[in-house]
Amino acid sequence: MNYTTNDISAISNPAADISGLIKDNGIHSSLYTDPNIFALEMDKIFQECWVFVGHLSEVPKRGDYIRRHIGCEPVLMFRTGDATATVLTNRCTHRGNLLCQEEKGRRRAITCQYHGWVFNLDGDLVDRPFSGGYCDKGGELDLRKAKVAIYRGFVFATFAKNPVSLEDHLGNGRHALDRASNLSPEGELDLFGGWTKHIFNSNWKMLVENNTDGYHVNHVHDSFARGIQVQYKYENVLKSEEDKLEAFVRDMGDGHAEIEYGQTYSKPLFWFGVESDRFPDYVSSMEAAYGKDEANDILTKGPPHTYIFPNLFIAEVSMVVIQPISAGKSINWNTPLYLKGAPDAVNRRMLRQGEAALGPSAFLLADDAVIGDRQWRALHGSPGWLDLSRGESRETVAADGTITSHYSDETPNRGFWRHYRTLFS
């Protein structure tokens, strides 16, 4: 096999070749470094699977749009109605000009600045200057439109011709979106905080795997543990003794995975580093919305730490989107997990905690980024097999098919690659 050329056709049977790079408990490093494999992923994963694009709260009014990417493809997400959005390729069908350069804005229609072609918010071509020069081509020149499905305000899109339902794609991962949204007394997130965009000089899948890797925490984040007075939420996970860790990992199937911290919190809002009396208005609004018992359960268990295949990560107090740029470059997007209807003080605390953990200057992610960079460089220069066997023999399979194991086990990685392999077979 030759993985050094940039010509995708050099892989005669890509699916078979990629399957050969993934074992049950290990993978080959070319999955991170090979530009041909990256190109295949953009096609097989980011074009064919449901991909997270944005949250409805980011485009609150009809005509509001945000610029995003589905893999490498530039797209626009438009709010089109009460609970509807469109996702359109940000490329004029005439001569390929980028239609919107601003990161966000509001439009009644999309007019290309090159020759003035006009599209409506559903992507239909509705006007062309000097129309006398054209024979009608029907809908052929409409913008490329993704299929869109929305769950609790999370907007997903896919270019697949016959995609599975979003419900099937989300599988058990749906519970994480519920768990995050249910922290709001109105049952909705309200993502108005904007995003930091942090460059990682490593492969997008390294960011993915790191997010549900409990094993690295004591090592990569040693300086954070020693730099702060360890308390509340960090108390359990920064313990160095293997048998005292109560958090555990879960392979949720379909590529989704999480670290479950719920049972490490003994009281409501412990995950937030406070007790209930700090935010009495929040607690009472939650009790009014869900009833006392359920509110208590929601507030004790706290937010998810869950990765949704392929590009969404709910990082407890933040939401993260992983954007692949090339085999060796990715962008980690981060916004605070603002809760609709929660007191400002609660959302402000969410913001401050998120800034501590995620972003280019954060106590945690700055170090994850540099480790990823080093890993990528070492693998690029010294390819070979990587071991993912940790915890193989001590996993527990639940009735719903999810697999749990010790906090430090590589169960989430194995689940990710098991699903990944199915997409290339």
Binding site: G194, H198, D222, S223, G227, E355, G359, I371, D373
Partner: protein, 168 residues
């Protein structure tokens, strides 16, 4: 503002300028203790996502430290295992276009432009160039000035940026 106190004397200008050069030198050379000695207890160190109407309590920032979080940051840098600054980045910052406003009898607001050259030696062995402007709020304290606010506005702050684990 009262016009009679708004004029900055040459002596005051020099004093603020000296402080800013000193602060830049300590930051560039990762002299954390000396840098920390320049701070007041009400210090805010803020890197918003560039220019624009970003509000520190609404819009997510690249960094937003009060004095206690900044102490944690410096403690972390001093542990020896802050991988994103081990080894520390060799850096040099060029500062210019100094303008000074008076906030009160004993407080100044200084504006500068800067270009910072950072050798990223932790993983890439490549040079990063950072550019933007900074605002300092300084207060007369005993014999010298101290800093109680520093805002760093990167020209690319709202775009993808590399790790900034050093004191900028």
């Amino acid at each position: 503002m009262n016009e009679t106190v708004s004029v900055i004397s040459d002596d005051e200008y020099r004093k603020v300028e000296r402080f800013i050069y000193k602060e830049a030198r300590f930051a560039d050379e990762s002299r954390y203790d000396e840098w920390e000695n320049l701070l007041e207890d009400d210090m805010i160190y803020w890197i918003p996502r560039g220019e624009g109407d970003f509000l520190p309590d609404r819009d997510v920032s690249i960094l937003n430290d009060n004095r206690s979080r900044l102490a944690t940051r410096i403690n972390q840098l001093k542990t020896g295992t802050r991988h994103s600054q081990e080894p520390r980045s060799p850096m040099r910052k060029i500062i210019s276009n100094l303008m000074i406003d008076r906030i009160s009898e004993n407080e100044y607001l200084a504006h500068v432009n800067f270009a910072l050259f950072e050798m990223q030696v932790q993983s890439l062995d490549e040079m990063n160039i950072w550019a933007g402007r900074m605002e300092y709020k300084l207060r007369e304290s005993e014999d010298d000035l101290k800093m109680f606010f520093k805002k760093v506005v990167l020209i690319n702050g709202d775009h993808p940026v590399p790790t900034i684990a050093f004191i900028i």
